[in-house]
Amino acid sequence: MSASDYLSVALLITGAVFFLAGTVGLLRFPDLYTRLHALTKADNVGLGLMIAGLALQAESWAVVGKLLLIWGLVLLAGAGVAHLIASGALKQGVRPWKK
């Protein structure tokens, strides 16, 4: 394995850790808003790390571009949808969790 392969593995594993943490947060956090927070962290950073890991293995720059495009779209959709869900819940009177 070359240096870039090791770097890929490290990035993919770190990304997987973010996904795992996000999933645990989604299941364990107390209310909708904190769960959204956990979920978007996994989507944004976890997927970003995975994309970086995969981009190192890509055969051409075109593939790198496509991977980055996927990440950009997920960022856009994730942030937008999280905002819509949270503001919709606030309007319906779902109260944020307080200790």
């Binding site: 779209l73 856009l76 959709a77 937008g80 905002h83 819509l84 503001s87």
Partner: protein, 311 residues
Amino acid sequence: MEKVTLLIMLFDLLLGLGLLWLAWQLLESRNLFKAVVLFVAFGLLMALAWVRLDAPDVALAEAAIGAGLTGALLMAALAKLPSRDKSEPLADEKGHWLLRLALLLVAAGLGYVVHSLPESAPGLSAEIANNLASSGVNNPVTAVLLNFRGYDTLLELMVLMLALLGVWSLGIERSTREEPVGPVLTTLVQFLTPLLILVAAYLLWAGADAPGGAFQAGAVLAAAMVLLLLAGWPLQGLLTGVALRLMLVAGPATFVALAGLTLLDAQLLAYPPQHAGKLILLLEVAATLSIAVTLAALFLGYRPRTNKEPG
């Protein structure tokens, strides 16, 4: 390599079990909203299963239509239900055991049929590969859908149109409460709409040589229209009356016209090979438009009023 194949087998197994579990959960769910969300998740996993089965064309259609647009349609239908209907039990419990017995019989019959299939069926792929040169396209799936078995696609377009006629005959335009759309949704839609149109055009064009085609492109274009509708763009006001109807019938009408012409000439939907490529492109463009507008109109759920009709 052994380790990798084991991992892939494990993945396939998880995928299959996940599909069965999701199907079970969504059928058992008494909460309709939950059932719709599970249905969308099922569609996405199903698309992944099609990719694993080496059928990217079906995977694209499943993701765009099965998960995406059907999910949006179901959500729109759910929003129109009065709220008391959502918590009521879906079916009466008395008939359940009979239904389960019937389903078990169907499952046993299907199992028997699958079991009695011959080990290696010859299939038609060799025949299709031999005739691909005269079909006008290089993607065997497109060749089958729009040339060799074009009448299947023609009938599919008709079914889609019938569905819309059914919705229009039921639907009365309701006074929708206008909620202000925030800047986030507006910006999101402004980013995504041009991109979706570009993707639809690409899928339409790529269909001749690679996975893609009218249904996938139409679904993506319809998704752009659904987004615009959700963001409060008055599409239903801009596209009404004759213009709307022309776009709805463009696909089926082009198909029927071509079917009539080829029937006079030789045989139903048997294109002359030297023009086949152009004819298929023409059909796909018309079909994409019609599919997109029909799906978006289904999402809207009622016939848009023309300016002349009283409001």
